[in-house]
């Protein structure tokens, strides 16, 4: 019987053999590659990772990875991931989805996820459109965005995901760009290492349906954080997050502290083995 060997894994260990359903040039490829590399850096065993997603092109990502996954219904990735992580806090859980899933139908859950501060990493592939349903406006689409469902242009203001997250108490907010996959992998690592919810909004262009926000325009609009930015400074971070010219990339804000799952673990006062004793004491209480 051979001794178990500690494998050093390669990117191939994280790939499934399911062919991605994305268009050539899709920004999500860059995100997927960054994810493979981040997991390889951590040398995760695929069996200990769960990728949770909702509905949308980007939410198909778990099928392309060799880990466990849960492709849920639209907008509900965060609650599903919460159930997974709280049931089994030792698992490595990442939530992968799009801007529609996160900020439209999932908007309520996004708010509470930021409040709750569960120790998972949420990567949002933000292409400012709805790709899978062929190009309607998403909550992050700029005002005046023209689509078949908004032929004269949208009227609503776009949501700023990181401002929203910070307002709801998020402890880690970051912005990435699929066109900079190495940096993105580093951001993912930082998110994974962070104790609490790590929100990473990633510009991940849709070449098929969004002709306004493209790799070219993002390249012109993004910039690294100012050298003197202090990510622990809430006020400064708010201003950095609010800026659209430029769109700053990096970890904008981070606050250390225990995560929700950690705090709940500390409140557990027993194990399943204590059940018979508990039943007896409860029956006593009611007699």
């Amino acid at each position: 019987m051979a001794e178990p060997i500690t494998l050093t894994r390669t990117v191939d260990d994280y790939k499934s053999d399911e062919k991605p359903t994305w268009c050539p040039g899709c920004g999500d490829f860059g995100v997927l590659n960054a994810l493979y590399n981040a997991m390889r850096e951590k040398n995760y065993d695929p069996k200990d990772v769960v990728l949770v997603s909702g509905i949308g092109c980007s939410s198909r990502l778990p099928f392309f990875v060799s880990t466990y996954g849960f492709h849920g219904v639209h907008g509900r990735a965060m609650p599903i991931a919460t159930g997974v992580k709280l049931a089994r806090p030792e698992l490595n859980v990442l939530v992968m989805g799009g801007d529609g899933d996160a900020f439209a139908i999932g908007g309520g859950h996004f708010m509470h996820a930021a409040r709750r501060n569960l120790n998972v990493t949420y990567v949002i592939m933000d292409n400012q459109t709805y790709g899978l349903t062929k190009g309607q406006a998403s909550p992050t689409a700029q005002t005046g965005y023209v689509t078949k469902a908004s032929p004269k242009g949208t009227l609503e203001a776009p949501v700023n995901p990181l401002l929203l997250a910070m307002a709801c108490g998020a402890s880690f907010v970051a912005r990435g760009f699929s066109g900079q996959p190495k940096d993105l992998a580093q951001l993912m690592l930082a998110g994974i290492e962070h104790s609490g919810l790590a929100i990473i909004d990633v510009y991940s262009p849709c070449p098929t349906f969004n002709k306004v926000n493209t790799f070219k325009t993002y390249r012109e609009e993004v910039a690294p954080l100012p050298a003197d930015h202090d990510r622990s400074n809430f006020d400064a971070s708010l201003r950095i997050a609010a800026s659209t010219e430029p769109r700053y990339l990096g970890v904008l804000y981070q606050r250390e502290g225990p995560s929700y799952d950690q705090l709940l673990e500390e409140r557990k006062s027993g194990t399943p083995a204590d059940l018979p004793k508990l039943m007896d004491s409860l029956f006593e209480r009611f007699s």
Partner: protein, 591 residues
């Protein structure tokens, strides 16, 4: 000769002590050996509005709250107006003259003014003690030994200092004294009319509500995760488990809404834990999309629906059995799910365990169709047996090559392997070689999204095949009366109580009638119902709803038209309503 049961109602304004009076009396009575069963009907608001607490006590097990009252204690005028019609002829009315001004007594009932709030305020200088005075009043009327109440007060208030305990004991004594001085000592008063037998105090009985029984049963079933959102009348379940589940290493989350709750439950189930939520009709409506996801991804989960009167916001504190179709059919597409309904407070403890077992065995959602009557009813029941129902585990996955080492590119574990039973071995995260992606998309055997006709046909048949086998594991149904009778009644949920009592009364009149209540409502427990139907010229289905939801399900399944007894006024059946229907059914057969 003492009666075997007594029906007492305490009524007044919500927030003014109806519930606390009732609860203290119930607990004391149970300790003294009386069997007790209660019904509580508050308004939907926190204060104001008419509230009633009814308890039935005696020496036998009861199944309904009693059609008529023997004793009515009315704290105010509205309570008098709303309840006096239910006080039986020869019954006793106690009213607080500060707030209630009934007309001069007729000979139909006996009535006495007892100035409970005046006694509390002036004599005891303890306004809040009004409720304890009321308890003393009632105890003296039916002859309950006061030491049980005194001991209860000592337990409750002893730790808070002699002053508060002393005040409560004095209040109890004041109530007892007033009645003994002014009512029971009077030559007009016939104690036999209200004296009731009690059983022997039995340390092996407990007094719990249906919600508590559900919670205790969930603990016994080994629930590991609960997520929920507050809603009347289910919130108790979440609050109880919030206090207890962490003591056995489990987790409770008050989620932001019902949709988050059920999705958290699915996530926890995917991760290998027994997971549940509890809600009422409006919450179930929100959860149906997730039920579909659970069915498609073949994930066990348990959803407790404490039904209340609908539709929409409806009457949050009133009773109805209106969610059966929602539980059975709710959701787009053809969702497989199990629906189980407990019939009594004690049954809640056991049926929730059956729900967990069947959900795990058949890998699909299971709904426990609970209701308002049971949720808020407190009843003295035998101490439940947590070991009666053995746990059924999910069909376990074994690594494909047996050594746990499976290259990720090859031979993905077939999570949805097609086989004869339709139940495929299930892995959970952390198990090497068990990786798969759970999804709501149609998928092939290893879980990947596929749209071809063959896959759709095969997978639909797989899920339906396993669903069709659920009746093989149907929990035992309940049966009453003479099964060889020509007429019968089928019912479900808490309606089983009044039906059972009506059958007993009918039999005492010489009428032969059979009754049954299946616990498994969906899929249809045909192996239990088919034999019941044989030889019956007429079968009625009794349920508290307008449309006869179970009757229509049975009509469709058996291809015959079932008769119906329906009430839909936000209350449980009166026993006499069912008895009347039985008499009519029996008479129709007489030539």
């Amino acid at each position: 000769m003492p009666k075997t049961d007594l029906v007492i109602r305490v009524a007044g304004e919500a927030g003014e002590g109806v519930l606390s009076t009732g609860q203290l009396l119930v607990q004391g009575a149970a300790r003294a050996g009386y069997r007790v069963l209660t019904d509580f009907s508050p308004p939907a608001e926190i204060k104001g509005g008419y509230s009633l607490f009814q308890l039935r006590i005696g020496s036998q097990q009861f199944h309904s709250r009693g059609d008529e009252l023997d004793l009515l204690l009315a704290f105010n005028q509205e309570a008098y107006d709303m309840s006096i019609g239910e006080l039986r002829e020869g019954g006793l009315l106690i009213y607080d003259p500060a707030q209630a001004k009934p007309p001069a007594s007729t000979n139909r009932v006996q009535q006495y003014a007892v100035p409970m709030s005046e006694i509390a305020r002036t004599q005891l200088k303890f306004e809040l003690g009004k409720n304890v005075v009321a308890v003393g009043v009632l105890a003296a009327l039916f002859g309950m030994p006061e030491e049980y109440l005194q001991k209860l007060l000592q337990q409750r208030f002893g730790g808070r200092g002699q002053d508060i305990l002393g005040k409560n004991l004095a209040a109890l004594q004041a109530g007892l004294d007033y009645v003994r001085e002014h009512i029971t000592s009077s030559p007009d008063f016939n104690p036999d009319l209200f004296a009731v037998e009690r059983g022997t105090p039995d340390a092996h009985r407990i007094v719990v509500s249906g919600n508590q029984a559900v919670s205790l049963g969930a603990l016994a079933a080994g629930v590991g995760f609960f997520a929920g959102y507050p809603i009347t009348p289910a919130s108790d379940i979440m609050e109880f488990l919030a206090g207890e589940l962490p003591k056995v290493g489990g987790t409770v989350v008050q989620a932001e809404d019902e949709i988050a709750s059920i999705n958290m439950v699915l996530g926890a189930s995917f991760a290998g834990k027994r997971a549940m939520t509890s809600t009422s009709g409006p919450g179930v409506s929100l959860m149906v999309e997730a039920l579909g996801l659970g069915a498609m991804a073949e994930l066990p989960c348990v959803l407790v629906d404490a039904q209340r009167a609908g539709p929409s916001t409806g009457m949050p504190t009133r009773h109805e059995q209106g969610d059966l179709w929602l539980a059975v059919y709710g959701g787009h597409g053809e969702i497989q799910r199990i629906v189980i309904a407990p019939t009594s407070v004690e049954d809640c403890f056991y049926q929730i365990q059956n729900a967990f077992n069947l959900a795990d065995k058949y890998q699909m959602p299971a709904i426990l169709l609970h209701d308002t009557v049971l949720a808020v009813r407190t009843e003295s029941i035998p101490r439940p047996d947590p070991n009666r129902i053995p746990r059924i585990e999910r069909l376990a996955f074994t690594p494909p090559n047996g050594n746990g080492q499976v290259p990720p590119h090859e031979g993905y574990f077939l999570r949805y392997a097609l086989n004869e039973s339709g139940i495929s071995p299930m892995s959970s995260p952390g198990q090497a070689g068990g990786q798969y992606v759970a999804t709501g998309l149609e998928h092939n055997e290893d879980g990947r999204p596929r749209y071809d006709p063959e896959t759709k046909r095969d997978m639909t048949e797989k899920r339906m095949r396993k669903f069709a086998a659920v009746p093989n594991d149907a929990p035992e149904a309940e049966y009453w009366g003479d099964q060889s009778a020509e007429v019968g009644i089928i019912t479900w949920g808490s309606s089983a109580g009044p039906v059972q009592e009506a059958i007993r009364l009918a039999e005492a009149e010489g009428i032969k009638v059979a009754g049954m209540a299946p616990k498994l409502l969906w899929p249809v427990a045909h192996q239990q119902i088919e034999p019941f139907l044989r030889g019956k010229r007429e079968v009625l289905v009794a349920e508290v709803n307008y449309t006869g939801q179970y009757a229509q399900i049975l009509n469709a399944h058996f291809g015959r038209t079932f008769g119906r007894i329906n009430v839909y006024a936000g209350e449980a059946f009166r026993v006499r309503e069912i008895l009347a229907a039985i008499r009519k059914m029996a008479a129709a057969g007489v030539r």
